[in-house]
Amino acid sequence: MAIRERLSGNEAVSTAIRQINPDVMPAFPITPSTEIPQYVSSYVADGLIDTEFVAVESEHSAMSATIGASAAGARALTATSSAGLALMWEELHIASSDRVPVVLALVNRALSGPININADHSDGMGARDCGWIQLYSEDNQEAYDNMVMAFRIAEHPDVLLPVMVCQDGFITSHAVQNILLLEDEEVKKFVGEYTPENYLLNAENPMAVGPYAVTNYYMEARRSMAEGMVASRKVILDIAREYETLSGRGYSFFEEYHTKDADYVIVIMGSASGAAKDACDKLRAKGKKVGVLKIRVFRPFPAAELAAALKNAKAIAAMDRAESFSGNSGPMAAELKAALFDAKQCPEILSMVYGLGGRDITVEDMEMIYADLEAGNFECKELPYRYVNVRE
């Protein structure tokens, strides 16, 4: 039976962690993810879980210890935000190349500077090419559901890659909202016991992790990693289907909200998707053919599936909550354009950057974006993409 609750996004993720009862959690506090290790360490202190909580001296150490624990044979995870993720950068690559199935609860926050503690996807987007699977969440419910599914994806023998479960800092992490939780036993059963085939602490069968590989081997090792990412596609969908039978909540690479017959589509990720959906409903009530496509899985990037879902769209607003400073568009828009090019589709695409450093975006903003798509107003000024709600 689903448990009706009201939790913030951080509480939701922490609850999932409590229900999973992982073996090891090394963590270092950073706003706005601090509450996650805080809640987990109180669960440990209260005897609710037997997780080994490791208070480390930096995020670099947090990820190192998480990797070490996982290589040793433990189910391990950590949590961070922004500069914390940046400090983990070296280890992010080590985690994925060592193929340790660790999980990271990322509470998305802007990177400096100017110094800012609020939400955007700069941190997660900066880590998009580190070999991690990335799941983005719209609200506390999705953050919870993604966390419950994360270890199953990471630990699958065809995948063995780390998973980042992302949610927007403060906007969802600190907002209390209704949520449906699974029973502790259901989560425990769904996630199961972690039984790695090989691990460092197996005295019967010693092993070495993270070796040096000369030029002759490096490309083969990276190609093998890429295969794990490719294989994760099927695994992500299989586990989502299994999760749907348990929870009643369905997930895929992305959510299609009235996109089937839509002429004008907003493609977006994270918490602002809700404002786009509300705008979509208002315009649908007036007979406008509009839709929202919310990307959940950014890595692996579901290029062919996105192109198929957008094949009838006349105009698309590709909205990034991150600046990539490519001078062309945000990172998601660039990948979306590449996906459509490969599929020989050529709709009008208005690339937009919005919500940096927590800048608010409203239903009315979304309605105006739809209006521009419909009116064929794709005009941009100095840049070939548009900044939403920037003063100029």
């Binding site: 009201r6 906007i171 907002a175 209390v176 998707s273 404002a275 409203t362």
Partner: protein, 191 residues
């Protein structure tokens, strides 16, 4: 109750406006509603103006933006009236609820022409009487429940009793005072 009720809180860092917004989400949740309670985070400094928000609805809430056209505004510190346009966007069908010892005739001129209901409560007096200390958030929470009518008063008091028992499990001596503050505030809020 209409489909969606939106509430904006104005307070100062350290006064408990955020906590009050989260408590409101808690009690409204207990009525079966869909709720949202969130603060707008800036630099976390004692005394700096802060804003917090509530949405209470009969349908799932998807929007996460701040609230620009609220049904109700709660002002936890009347000194904010000088610097902040607290009634900006406030529905004329709604109300502003202000913590002040003054009569509303003295307050109205500070509200930049707002034509809707203006409610006042002396949360300092209530808090001093009930708790012997100044914690404005409990009286203000009771006032907004009363004025907005988002839930029956009895149900509100019942839920708050349980909430305080949980929250103050380690210091039960403060539960009675807080409950008293709520009860006085429900009576004292003036239109």
């Amino acid at each position: 109750m209409k489909g969606l009720t939106e509430i904006r809180w104005h307070g100062r860092g350290g006064q408990g406006a955020k906590t009050a917004a989260l408590l409101l989400a808690d009690v409204a949740f207990s009525t079966g509603a869909e709720v949202q309670g969130f603060p707008e985070y800036g630099p976390e400094r004692m005394g700096a103006p802060i804003t917090a928000y509530n949405r209470v609805s009969d349908k799932p809430i998807r929007v996460h933006s701040n609230i620009y056209a609220p049904d109700y505004v709660v002002v936890v510190d009347e000194t904010l009236l000088e610097d902040i346009d607290v009634t900006a966007g406030l529905s004329e069908e709604g109300a502003v609820i202000i913590n002040t010892a003054k009569d509303k005739e003295e307050i109205i001129p500070l509200l930049k022409g707002y034509q809707g209901r203006v409610c006042t409560i002396d949360a300092r007096k209530v808090s001093m009487e009930a708790l012997g200390m100044y914690f404005p958030n409990s009286p203000m929470l009771a006032a907004v429940i009363k004025v907005s009518g988002i839930m029956p008063e009895e149900k509100f008091l019942e839920e708050m009793q349980m909430s305080y028992e949980h929250k103050f499990a380690s210091k039960p001596q403060v539960i009675e005072g807080n409950m008293k503050a709520l009860k006085i505030a429900l009576k004292e809020v003036k239109e």
